[in-house]
Each structure stands twice: as structure tokens, then as C-alpha cells.
Symmetry: C2
Subunit: 673 residues, 2 copies
């Protein structure tokens, strides 16, 4: 830019807008919100010298023609803030505009001079010039003749020979400020160079309770292959526990070739059903239903029935094929071929997974493949599925997911994609950035207080919270964590309460979870013994030790308390015993506050002093307040910041307290008044 | 991007490059380095699946045609790193390229399979295909026939009927990897979307010692008006103290109209010289020299003389005018006019500064004004000045400075601009980002250990260090901090040692500083009594209490120890007495380590145990090491991480230790060997 004469047209003095938040990777990725949430935008806004600044936050639905404007307010240290509400699904865009406000500067300086009893004769003439210029802008905008006339009159009065006191009063009148704000001088205004995008989902994208269940294990009989009809009979059970999403592992035909037997043995017995993730056989592929589960119509009936119970059915998207999947025959170009003519099976050398053929996204046909997979998703949307749990998305290209999810959500903004990527952190976050609605997390392996605090602080207190929505699973069909293997029933309760209250979204794989199934295939392994992945299991759902009544209560507490409908308010509190974890959450207006206290040791009773900073929660430290344990229904009177808690894991290892700020005293009695 | 058919040309599977460091505001601003420094670039680089990745850092001088490439190495958690050296002044650019490396993946998997004693017959054929493809790339590049031939031969051998063991050995040979690295398959490579810029300055931009002096106070006689000739006689004094930059307040004619008298009184007596910052009179403006200082030739002679002493002369750029500055008459359009026809003077209502007219950067003539100011800087460069201290840059537009500094440094990369912006943090950092070489800091008011640690951690351990080079001043003609007013001579020593060792660049305003001048104009003010800004002062430079010998020693220590030539290695160490501040610095290869211990209390003796983490500094905790106090020349034997220090401010409130890792023992005696 050496002495570029074109520079001479740009105003030199402008306002700087920088360090805008939220903004993901310089605007490369959208921010996520759900309907009903607020977007609070912050930015550093400043200029040279001592001039006053005005600034507005601009936002609109992407397809809208006009911006809505909200004035930004200065917080501190050149940091400005404004908010707007998300009211619809779809995409929003926002940006900022700021300008040097000569009238504001003049107004501030006039007041200072008047207070110092200086003569302001010349200043009033300067003000008249500024007001008259605004009158011209009002006129130029057309149809604002009345405003323009009012302003012109005021300018004339400031120039008149009326007394200085009267003219000062006329200059600082509120109406003048109102009209000057209505017709600002934007000739040198700074428009932030980016339009930032928000993807607005429905509320369930943020707050959801998932239950994973193998439909083939739903039959009443001993080891019969369950059907969608059987699944319908399980709906009351799932609904009674309070789940709102019922997620089924793949429902497609299962490959015969290299099918795995019970406990993942290399060869299957004739009656072995195989892993549902080995998708495709002569009976069909990703758009077919396993014949033993029923027909496509049965599936659609099941979805409709679930809806009656307030439950949405989620299915599994696992883009991989059994060797006998129709794609292998019909589209060999979608697979990698080895020099000996065979198709490349999945491997993690020296381990071989000969029952799975990965799809090849590096061939010249990769975009045709991508188009077909996109069609698979559309097919299931057309059958009524709006929620997809995506298996191993980190083994398919990032660009593929970004394209697919963006395409789908443009037409179906209500669709939810859950990323099942137990991968390295950068990969997991990238998948969330490029569009996955929710994501599996490392919660499954975070057991100690230190680990939980560190990880959830990263998820909820850094920029990651703008795009990554955690979904917390204490177990999955692939993962029986060591903590559950060794901690008995109390460990299941502990992990349930943590998942359901740390996360706005969580899920369990049942009935293994509620029945406290905890036998690994071999010691030191996280694989279940007699895993449902390879065989049909029968479950005694009415067993006495079942956690289902407790799960029902926990889910009811989640529904009733809006404090638990978000993750961004999560705050940890100090306890003088590291075996006790304490944290709170609240809703936007603090009308719902939940304090959770968990004894992380499933074997021993622990007590500790909790430090609960009342002032941050608008609780009066001078008066007692009531803690209502929503698990036991017990009520405690607490006072001040420090209070004692003791938890016996054999009875109940957790409290979920609703904080009631106001408790009744004699002042509430009629007699007293 | 709905089903855009053009997508079908893009490879779906690509490597992601993100979170590149250093990178300022998504590449909007350059990173700063000096010749001799390293640039260490870090980035998150990853892809889907389990494929191996290769990546290179690309850099070049901006004007060079070809990139130089350095392979990036994986550190941990998908974070990669590479470095290059800055060898010349000017602009460098850098970027990154990464790709899925099929050969690397194949090589890794082959080794795993061979180790598991699997048959790899097909794998060797796959390897042959990869190697043959590289042979073709070598051929396509032209002139690489020999390499192509070698590779083709190797591919043929892998396909031959030689024994599998021999073929494996031939496949994993180092030469194969070398050639495969030389001809990578880049068809789906990711090129980082930005070319990031580095401004490379000379070393003095980072490491410099400034001395500020009023030339008019340099005469031998009592209150004579000093001249440049007199200044020449002061050079030995400044040089003996070890300063390498001598900075003069404005040397231009001083306005007569509304000239300020002694101690900033509103009216000047006839003999009052006025403030040098009220620039311009009938005698000339920003390109003229004050006649009482001498001629322009005298000034150039002075510059040349200073050079003989290893001193560079810096002048002040203060873009503002006295009412009688020639610009006011010749270019009234560069000033703001009030409705009564008068020109707007500077004000901070209700305060008025009628002796100063600010320049108006909001008029239609602002770019003509900017061009003239640019000419002012070029004029002084042509007289031999290469260092400018810029007065109040935060009251002129940011875009103006960015344009001016960029223009100047394109032709004169050796020029240094010091930003004197004691403004809010965002403004100070913005000025640094847009081009200022060095910046004044809040050091002047950071006195307690907590304050110093917090502020210098922000400056040296965050991204701010990539663009903001602090220059630390314990005093200026405008600021006599309260700490110096109240702490006596020890407080001056404390602030000297802190400035000279916390900062790679620092400066003092003398002789007020070395003579421990500490009288404010009124209690509670930071203005000097009888400030040199408004009158000529005589100084007893040979006074017994002068700190000049100590300053000379401190500057010698700075020169001799390269640990002190940077700020980015600054590390604070715990001390169990908060009145004692302890920190270390080191050079790149740890051959120079300095540990500074300062008693921040100028009134009382303090002692404390220092925790000095030896392992981070490659010091063997098992053996004693020697601490050589470069101020007192005393030597101490220390051992282990914890050592005791006591400092009496009446004797010397600081140690500047050179850490000598190896001390002699009996093993160094001939007899012992």
C-alpha cells in the first residue's frame, strides 16, 4: 500500500472493531444455539483520541432482507456487549457497526464545560451545526420531514439570541439525543468485515435424554429375535424412566460373510445374529430393514407409537459395509482394491476386521459415493427419523460431513446428528465445528474430581462451548468402564447423577445400565461379557436392584428444573474433601438454581465442607436458605457460604438440591404484619 | 453449497491445518522478530482415520520467488512444530502445507504386519504401486530421470519373485523413504489458506538502552540555552553509562503564542523557553531546528559524533502545532475551525490547552495532511535519524500510522518507532500490531510483586509477545511516579534494576533519574517540580549520590549477558516473602542464564527462600552451582531448588546473578585423574 492514491478516499479516522465473541476460527464455522437461547455478543470497540463511540449489533435470519439493530453497551476496558434472542430454527447471521459519534462527544463536553461555569456560546453554535446536519440526513432518508423539521427548529433555536441557559436546556434535552441517535452520521462508520453465522437448532439439540436399546433383545420370550412390534411393548418402560430419545443400533440386514460369533469370536454359529454394525447382505443395505425386525412399515408404526409416548426414535448411521452388502457388487468402485483383486477390509495392523469393508473416499468416485450416502440419510428422514447417532464419523472425511450435514439441515433444520467420535480432541472438536449437533465426550473415562473439573471447565468455560454440545454416556455397548466394573451399584448411581446433571444431554445403554451389568469379557477389558453386539440378550427389567425408579426420578428432576437445561452455567465449588464433587447450574434469570453434591467414592462414606459462593447466585448471605434434595425429598436449612454435607454411598451417593432462596419467617404471618 | 457439482472436483479427504501460531488476528497483522531470532511455528494438523501425515513449513523473504521448506515434526496431540531463522531485515512470509502420506501409512503398517509374522505378499505389491507412482512424479518434474529410474527398479524388485524377506528389506530401506519424501503425492495436499507475515527488524528493535535528555539543559554555564555543540560534550557521559540510544525531546522552534511559563503557568516570562512539545513558530515547524540549539548542520554533526560513541540519536515525533506554527497559516484546512472562525485548540473539558492546535484527521484534506507528515519523517531520516519516539500516537488515526510506518519501513527497514501511548490496553496493543516497533508500558506504575508478575506474564507469555515489544521507563519528563517520590535512592536502584532486566529495552529520563530527583510540583502529583519541560535546568552530573556508576554497571551486565537480550524467556520464581521478586531469563541455548532477585521494599531489609526450578534450566540438582552477583561481584554456592537470599536496600536492594552451572571440584585436579 505504498502511497496508494486510492487511500485518499478512505476516511482515516475510524472505529476499530476486533476480538468479537462468539466467533469460531475467524468466522470459518458457525456458532450453535437453540431456540429460546440468547446470543450475547462481545467486542473490543475503540478509536483514537477521546471521542465518544456508538455501536450496534446487527442480526437477522439468514434469509431475511433487513438487519435488526441492538445498541451495544460499554462494559469495561473498551469491551462492548449486546444480546438478541433465538426464536426460530435455521441460520442467523450477525455483524457489528460502530462509528465516532460527534454529537455524543459534543454533548459530554458541553456538560463538562457548563458544570465548570464556562461560557459555551461557541459550543452551542457547534451543536446547532451537528443538529442541522442530522436534519439533512433525516430529509435525505425521505419521508422523515417531521423529524427533519423538528431538528432544524432546534438548531435554529440554539443559534438564536435566547438566553444561554435556555439554549443549553434545549440542547441537552432527551428528545434531541433520541433524534440524533435516530439519524447518526455514518459516513466513516466501521462495518465489521465478517458476517458471523449461528446455526439455531430446536431445544432438544441442547437438552435431551437418550436411551440406547437393541431392538432384537426386546422380545418377551427367552432368546427370540425381537421385532419392532416387540419394541412397541417396551415403550411404556422407556417412557416411565423419562427418556425422550430412544436410540437403536443399526436396524439393517446383517452380513453373513465373516460374521462374528458370540463374544466376538471369528466364526459365527448358524443361529448367531451377528453385529448390527456389519451392515448389508443379500437382504439389502443401508436403506433396508433387517427382515427379522419387521418391515419398513413396522418401523414407521413403531416411530409413530413412540411419538405417543413423547419419545423420538434415533437410528444409527454407520457408513461401512459387510462383504455381502449390495454396494460391494453394484459399486465396486466405492471400495479400495488390493493388487490381488481383493477388496481392502478394515484393519488396524496387525489386527484384521475381515467382516467390514470401509468405503473409499479417496477414489475418483468419492463424490458419487457421498451423494448416495446423503440419499441414505434423506431416505430415513422421509421415514420419519430426525435424529441420527453417527458411528465413527472420524474415519470419514471432514469435508464429507460438512457438506452432508449442511445440505440436510438446510431443508430439515430440526435434524440432530450425534457424533460418536471417541477420537483425539482436535478431531472431536473439528467434527463439532463442521456441523455435528451433539458429541460423545471423554466423560466415560473422567472419574476423579480433578479430572471432571478440568474437562468440564474446558467444555463449558472456553470457546469450545460455542460449537461443541456434550452428550454424556456412562456406558455404551462398546464401553463398560472400569469404574462401573469395580464400584457396584453405587458406582452406577454416581455416574448416572453426574451424566444427567453435568450434561444437558446424556444417555445410557440399557437395560445393561439400569440392571448394573458389570462383567467384562476378560479382566482389564472394557468389552462386556456376552455383549449384545454379538448375541440376543434377555433382561430381567423388573429386577429389584434395577435403577429404573431412580432414573425416572432423575429425569423428572431434569425436566422440572430449567437450571439443568444448559451446560454453560456449570460452576464447580470448593469442597475440603477431594472425594466430594460439588457444582451448581442455573437458568438465565436465576429463578432455577440446582446444586449437586456427589460422593465419588462408591465404597466409603465421605463428608466435607462446601464453599458455595452465595453472592454469585443472588442469595442473601444474612438469611438462611432452604436446600431441597430432589432425590430424597429431604429439606435442609443452610446459612452462609460454608455448609457441611455427608454422603453414604450405600444409601445414596448424591444430593441434587434445588436452592430455595426465600424461606418463611414470622414476618410472613398475618399476626406479625 | 447445496449439491454444488463443482464440489465433485475437490478431493474429499484432506488434511486439516488450523490453530497456527504465531498468527495475529487471523493474519491481519504481522508478527515481529529481529535478525538472529528464530520463528517457531506450531499448528494443529490432522486428518480423519488413521493415515500418516507429512507436513512442511514454507517460508521466504517476501520478495523471493521460491519457498524454503522445513518438515514439521509432531510434538503431541496433533500439534506440529518447525522453526526457521531470521537472517535479514524486511518482511518474511510463511505458510504450511500438509498431506495424507500413503507411503508413510503403508510403511508403518508393513512393519506392524511383519512384526506379527503375517504374510505381506500383497502389501509388497501395494508398496510397489506407490513407489512406481513416485517414479512417475519424478519423471514428470523433468530432469529427475536418475531418481525415477532408481524408484522404478525398486518397484520392479518388490514385484519380483525374490524371497519375501529380501523384498521387505528392500522396501523399508532408508533410501526408499528418502526418495518417497522427495517426490510426495500432493494431489490432495492442503495449503494453509493464509500467507502470514513477519516484520524482521534489526536487533536494536528488541534490545536497546535509551537515555532521554533535554539538549537545551546541556550547556556548561548556569542557565544558558544549550546547543547541539554542548550536547556533543555530554556524549562521553552518556556513553560511559552504556546507553546506545540518546533520545531528544522535540528540537523544533517553540511557539510564542500562549507559551507556558515555568511550572506550566499560563503565561510565560520573556526569558521562558516554553515547552518543546508546543511545536512551531515564525522560525519554522516540524522540519526546522530551534535556532538556539544550532543549525541543521550542527544537528547532523552531533548525530555523527554520537555514532563515534556507539550511540544513535532518536528524535521526537509530536504531530501537533503551536498557534504560530507555519502550518496554521499555510494550511488552515488541516485544523478544525469553530463556528466563530477560531481554530479549535486542544482540550479535555473543562481543561483547555490553548498553546496546542491538534491536527484534524477528519477533514476532506486528511490524506494531504498525512502525506505531509510522512514527508516530515522522511526529512529526518534523510538527516540521519533512524529512531523515532512518537508522542501520543493514540490521538491520531490508527490507519494513518499503519500507512505511514509501513511506507517508511518498506524503504528503510532499519527505522524504529517507539509508541508513547499511555492509553488503555486495547489501544496500546493495536498501535503495536499496526507497526510500532517498541511501546511504552504500564511498568511505570507496576510496583508490587503481584502487579509486576501479572503484567509481565501478560506481555511475555501470551500472544501479545508476538507483536508488542515493551520498553520500560521508570520515569519520564511527564511522570515522576509516587514510588520514586517516597522511596529515596534505593527506590531508584530498584526501578533501574527492574526496568533493565525485566525489559530487553528500557530507558530513563536523565539526569533527573540518576540524580534521584524526586520532588513533585505538589504533593499527590506526578509532575516534576521545576520541570525541564518548561525551563532550562542545570544538573550536577558529578554529584556523589549519582547513580551513573551503577547504571554503567547494569548496562555492562546487559551487554555481556545474552540472557537479557530478550523478554520471551522471562520466568518468575516463587519466594516465600512477597516483598522479594525473583525471576530468570536465558538465551536460546541456555548458555546464558540470569537470575534477578529484587527487594521491592526500599525501606527495610527482607530475606526469603527462593524456589528456583533447576530442571527447567538444565541445572543438575545433585551438584552445587555458583551464583555470581554481577552487581557486587560476590559469588555464592547454591544447591538444590531452595536457597536463601537477604537484601538490605540501604546497601544494595538487588542481585543480578549469572548462573554458573559447573563449578570446579577435586575431579578437575590433575592429581585426581
Amino acid at each position: 500500500m505504498k502511497r496508494d492514491p486510492s487511500n485518499e478516499k478512505k476516511p482515516l479516522k475510524q472505529v476499530i472493531i476486533e476480538n468479537v465473541s462468539p466467533e469460531i476460527d475467524a468466522g470459518r464455522f458457525p456458532v450453535k444455539r437453540v431456540v429460546g437461547e440468547k446470543v450475547t455478543v462481545l467486542a473490543d470497540i475503540f478509536t483514537d483520541g477521546h471521542d465518544s463511540i456508538s455501536a450496534v449489533l446487527m442480526h437477522r435470519k439468514k434469509e431475511a432482507a433487513e438487519w435488526e439493530e441492538t445498541p451495544l453497551a460499554l462494559i469495561v476496558n473498551d469491551r462492548w456487549q449486546a444480546s438478541f434472542d433465538i426464536t426460530e430454527m435455521g441460520e442467523y447471521v450477525y455483524s457489528l457497526c460502530a462509528w465516532v459519534d460527534a454529537f455524543k462527544t459534543w454533548h459530554k463536553e458541553l456538560i463538562a464545560k457548563v458544570s465548570a461555569e464556562q461560557d459555551v456560546g461557541v459550543e452551542l453554535l457547534m451543536g446547532a451545526d451537528l443538529i442541522e446536519a442530522a436534519a439533512e440526513r433525516a430529509r435525505d432518508q425521505g419521508g422523515q420531514e417531521a423529524d427533519a423539521g423538528w431538528l432544524k427548529e432546534r438548531a435554529d433555536f440554539l443559534r438564536s439570541d435566547a438566553g444561554q441557559k435556555q439554549r443549553i436546556a434545549a440542547a441537552v434535552e432527551k428528545t434531541v439525543r433520541f433524534f440524533m441517535g435516530k439519524y447518526p452520521d455514518l459516513h466513516a462508520a466501521t462495518y465489521y468485515e465478517k458476517e458471523l453465522v449461528i446455526v439455531a437448532d430446536r431445544k432438544k439439540a441442547l437438552f435431551s435424554s437418550w436411551y440406547e436399546m437393541f431392538p432384537r433383545s426386546c422380545a418377551e420370550g427367552d432368546t427370540d429375535h425381537g421385532t419392532f412390534k416387540d419394541c412397541e411393548k417396551r415403550l411404556p418402560y422407556v417412557a416411565a424412566m423419562g427418556f425422550d430419545i430412544l436410540y437403536l443400533p443399526p436396524i439393517h440386514p446383517i452380513g453373513q460373510v465373516h460374521r462374528k460369533g458370540k463374544n466376538n469370536t471369528p466364526t459365527a454359529a448358524p443361529e448367531d445374529p451377528g453385529s448390527p454394525w456389519a451392515i448389508g447382505s443379500v437382504e439389502g443395505g443401508h436403506k433396508a430393514v433387517h427382515p427379522r425386525l419387521g418391515s419398513l412399515d413396522d418401523f414407521k408404526h413403531f416411530i409413530a407409537k413412540a411419538e405417543e409416548y413423547g419419545i423420538e426414535v434415533a437410528i444409527d448411521i454407520a457408513f461401512q459395509c459387510a462383504p455381502d452388502h449390495p454396494y460391494v457388487r453394484e459399486h465396486p468402485e466405492w471400495f479400495r482394491h488390493r493388487p490381488d483383486g481383493s477388496i481392502q477390509y478394515a484393519e488396524n495392523p496387525p489386527k484384521k476386521y475381515e467382516d467390514i469393508y470401509p468405503l473409499d473416499f479417496e477414489s475418483g468416485q468419492a463424490w458419487h459415493l457421498a451423494t448416495e450416502l446423503h440419499d441414505v440419510v434423506l431416505f430415513w428422514i422421509q421415514q420419519g427419523v430426525k435424529i441420527f447417532r453417527v458411528d465413527n464419523p472420524h474415519t470419514k472425511p471432514f469435508a464429507f460431513w460438512e457438506w452432508l450435514i449442511h445440505n440436510v439441515k438446510t431443508d430439515y433444520p430440526e435434524v440432530i446428528f450425534l457424533s460418536e467420535a471417541f477420537a483425539r480432541p482436535k478431531t472431536m472438536y473439528r467434527l463439532a465445528k463442521l456441523g455435528f449437533t451433539q458429541s460423545y465426550t471423554y466423560f466415560t473415562w473422567r472419574n476423579t474430581g480433578y479430572e471432571i473439573k478440568k474437562y468440564f471447565t474446558e467444555l463449558t468455560r472456553t470457546r469450545i462451548r460455542e460449537f461443541f454440545r456434550p452428550n454424556l454416556w456412562p456406558n455404551t455397548p462398546d464401553i463398560l468402564p472400569e469404574y462401573l466394573q469395580m464400584g457396584g451399584r453405587p458406582s452406577f448411581i454416581i455416574r448416572l447423577v453426574l451424566a444427567a446433571t453435568l450434561g444437558a444431554s446424556y444417555g445410557i445403554y440399557g437395560p445393561a445400565f439400569e440392571l448394573c451389568e458389570n462383567q467384562p469379557i476378560v479382566p482389564g477389558s472394557e468389552e462386556y461379557l456376552d455383549s449384545e453386539k454379538y448375541e440376543i440378550r434377555t433382561w430381567d427389567r423388573s429386577a429389584k436392584h434395577s435403577l429404573s425408579p431412580l432414573i425416572a426420578r432423575v429425569n423428572q428432576v431434569r425436566k422440572d428444573n430449567s437450571a439443568l437445561h444448559n451446560t454453560r452455567s456449570l460452576t464447580f465449588h470448593d469442597v475440603d474433601n477431594e472425594q466430594i464433587l460439588c457444582y451448581s447450574k442455573h437458568n438465565e434469570d436465576m429463578s432455577s438454581i440446582i446444586l449437586v453434591v456427589v460422593n465419588l467414592d462408591p465404597h466409603h462414606t465421605h463428608g466435607g465442607w462446601i464453599n458455595f459462593p452465595l453472592s454469585e447466585l443472588n442469595i442473601d448471605a444474612q438469611h438462611p436458605f432452604q436446600m431441597h434434595d430432589l432425590l430424597s425429598d429431604a429439606r435442609f436449612l443452610w446459612h452462609g457460604n460454608r455448609n457441611f454435607v455427608e454422603l453414604d454411598p450405600g444409601i445414596m451417593p448424591a444430593h441434587i438440591f434445588a436452592v430455595r432462596k426465600k424461606i418463611k419467617t414470622e414476618e410472613n404471618f398475618d399476626y406479625y404484619l
